[in-house]
Amino acid sequence: MRLFGHKLSLLAQIGLAIVALNLFLAIFAPLVAPYDQTAVLGDAWADADWQHWLGLDNLGRDLLSRLIFGARMSIGLSLVITALSFFIGIVTGFAAAVAGGWVDQALSRFVDLLLSMPTLIFAFVILSVLGSGLPVLIVTIAVLDSTKVFRLARSVAVGLVSLEFVEAARLRGEGWWWIITREILPNAIPPLTAEFGLRFCFTFLFIAALSFLGLGVQPPAADWGSMVKDYRDMINFGSAAPIYPAAAIAILTIGVNFVVDWMLSIHSRGQGEGA
């Protein structure tokens, strides 16, 4: 198997497999899941049986189904957020790099300011002010995250802007839009993809943390983070309920990281690890 014209390492293949599986579950949740995520099917915490492979949850809903729908919510949400934050981060970052001068200064300083805000607390305040509806959740985290993307995007772009083929484009009289989209972006994709993977994981865990503070995804929609939270007490009573979502989160994160590590290794760059 090859990607970006490089052969995939074993771990990377495992990682891709995991990611693919999760995406599949996320996309086809309604078809795959045996029951609806909100349907109440029996007593709370009923044990696993042939109808309900993982048993029922705190409201007597099918745990497996919720796990599958959870994939949809968790992954979907994180993807949307990460995508948005990358859009913001890349556009501003590249703009800063290409424009340089005071534009660069202004943007960078503003980002520094945002970075100096403790993310979790910041999000906590905003969400408790505006309520944790999905749109608010998405925008808030995306904006907070885009600051980190900005930094990477900018540094990558700065590196590329100085290269002759960009200079050649400028000498030709190309506009900045062409330069960003045709000359810089294609070459910035590999490092940015790696970062995308990492940021995806962070978002993922961040949402989980917010859910823990009761500000993440709101019920009844299932999401792994809040599932772990809702079921957490059950560890104390030897029930595996919270293990499933936690494991799901862990496996996906690890999978993504395998792929990312591989990308970083082939592009041998230290960046991208930044939290």
Binding site: T38, A39, V40, D43, A44, W45, N58, L59, G60, S128, V129, L130, G131, S132, G133, G214, Q218, P219, P220, R232, D233, M234, I235, N236, F237
Partner: protein, 527 residues
């Protein structure tokens, strides 16, 4: 469940013996677990011992806590304050008001005025004696221009005056036979006249404040010669604030605390498997409400209200939200434990057909039914909305759930939206509960319930001192609300505490968790 609850309620009130209870309960097919938990109640049988420090792990504390009695709003300070102070009247386990710092009380002018005779020779922790002036001052803290949460209970009181050193009189706007109940409000505690320095509280309670770290840890130390007979056994108390439910459980299981409140209902079953741990289950007045404002469409239509009431699968809600540790609601706010509970009013059952029938009867093509829900209303509120939505769908009723931000819920949603979730902690007296939530002029009349007959019945009930008559009135009101009212009340929740086998005298109380906050006053430690 219901019959068992009734039974256990009566056990609590001592209406049945333990043996009798065991027999009946198991006959009713209650699991041994259920019985044991209900028996947790019957601890009282054993004989108390002096000494020891009781370690409590309590939810309901915050860094914003203060010893200021007007500021209390949650378990930690309520429990602590009952170790530091006493009230004039105590709310006994049988649900009746009994004298505390007031030796006795009697109604005047058909219960429009009340005279309280104070206990003599009770000393504050600063040595000075408790007298009428202190009582007047303390009560007035909650009247007029105040932040006190106790203001509500004192609202009907028009005047508090000292008759002599040991007698005060409260005058009311309208007669109220249940005033003593009002005085069991946990805010209405006695402090010395003019007392302000809440950093060093002075009270008549069994303990003195040793260490106060708000939202973290509170340490109380026994003070000599506590006046109350058969109370105040402990040498001291060490209260740790643990708001996270499983952290609380772990603390109890790993023996870092002796007793906790607000046991997660999901955990009860598994907790009581442990021989060392006793779950204390107290059926009470805490109930969830789905308030429809009867003067806003479509809820003006009684059939819509009935349709929703029939649609709700109360058994399921009770199971899902409280794992069954509660009692079914009958769309009126009076709990089974209340002496005035209307036991002949048929329990409304989940009945999609009836629901569908009433919905059609209402004849509204598309009534926009939107329930505004938020976990700020109560834990699991959104779950409940979800369940109700599913139930309604079964009856062909389209109901939307609008999730509201937790923040500012009580400001912006409650009392504003036409169909909103909320809860009530219950009141000592039936008439209070009915009055505070359903009297036409009551500020918190969520359902905008305004019914002449009801108003009259309420007034009469308050003024009436003849038991059978009162009972008739109150039963009538419950029936009215249940059949016509705008409040859909699916379930009452039990108070669930737990303690390890060292703790004695931790008895269930329908009023509030931790023995209605009296735990420090009542409990003791076995050797």
């Amino acid at each position: 469940m219901s019959e068992l609850d009734d039974l256990s309620a009566r056990l609590i009130k001592g209406a049945v013996s333990r043996r009798e209870f065991m027999a009946r309960a198991s006959a009713l097919g209650a699991s041994s677990l259920a019985i044991s938990t209900m028996l947790g109640t019957a601890q009282a049988a054993e004989t108390p011992k002096k000494g020891g420090v009781l370690r409590l792990g309590l939810a309901g504390g915050s860094t914003t806590d203060s010893a200021d009695i007007t500021s209390y709003n949650d378990s930690v300070m309520i429990d602590v304050s009952h170790g530091l102070f006493n009230g004039l009247v105590e709310w006994a386990q049988d649900g009746k008001p009994v004298p505390e710092l007031a030796e006795s009380f009697e109604p005047k002018k058909g219960a429009q005025d009340w005279v309280f005779t104070l206990r003599k020779g009770v000393k504050f922790s600063n040595g000075q004696e408790f007298t009428a002036d202190d009582a007047v001052y303390s009560l007035n803290l909650h009247r007029g221009d105040t932040k006190s949460g106790g203001a509500a209970s004192m609202k009907p009181v028009t005047d508090v005056k000292k008759l002599d050193k040991y007698q005060i009189q409260l005058s009311l706007a309208a007669p109220d036979a249940d005033l003593p109940y009002s005085l069991t409000d946990y805010h209405l505690l006695m402090v010395p006249e003019g007392f302000k320095d809440w950093a060093k509280p002075v009270g008549t309670g069994a303990f003195a404040l040793e260490k106060f770290d708000p939202g973290v840890r509170i340490v109380l130390k026994k003070r000599p010669d506590y006046w109350k007979e058969g109370r105040g056994w402990l040498d001291g108390a060490d209260v740790t604030v643990i708001n996270d439910s499983s952290a609380r459980l772990n603390a109890l299981i790993s023996g870092q605390v002796d007793a906790i409140n607000r046991v997660d209902h999901r955990a009860v079953g598994l907790l009581s498997k442990s021989p060392k741990i006793q779950v204390v289950r107290a059926p009470g007045g805490w109930h969830t409400v789905l308030a429809m404002e009867v003067d806003k469409d479509p809820y003006t239509n009684p059939d819509i209200r009935l349709a929703l009431k029939y649609a709700a699968d109360r058994e399921q809600i009770l199971k899902a939200l409280f794992s069954g540790y509660g009692t079914l609601g009958n769309d009126h706010p009076i709990p089974r434990t209340d002496p005035y509970f209307n036991s002949e009013l048929p329990q409304r059952k989940h009945d999609p057909e009836k629901a569908a029938y009433h919905f059609k009867k209402a004849g509204l093509s598309d009534p926009k039914i939107v329930l505004q829900a938020s976990d700020a209303a109560f834990n699991g509120a959104v779950d409940m909305a979800t369940l109700l939505q599913a139930d309604a769908a079964k009856a062909g009723i389209k109901m939307d759930v609008k999730k509201e931000p937790a923040d500012g819920f009580w400001d912006n949603v409650w009392l504003k939206g036409p169909f909103v979730e909320s809860y009530w902690g219950g009141r000592a007296a039936a008439t209070q509960m009915l009055g505070v939530a359903f009297a036409a002029n009551a500020p918190w009349n969520e359902s905008h319930w305004n019914n002449g007959t009801f108003e009259k019945l309420l007034a009469d009930a308050r003024a009436e001192t003849d038991e059978p008559k009162r009972k008739a009135y109150i039963w009538e009101m419950q029936a009215m609300l249940s059949n016509d009212g705008g409040a859909l009340i699916p379930a009452f929740r039990d108070w669930l505490d737990a303690h390890n086998d060292k703790v004695g005298g931790h008895t269930p109380h329908g009023g509030f968790d931790m023995d209605n906050g009296m735990i420090l006053d009542k409990a003791w430690l076995k050797s």
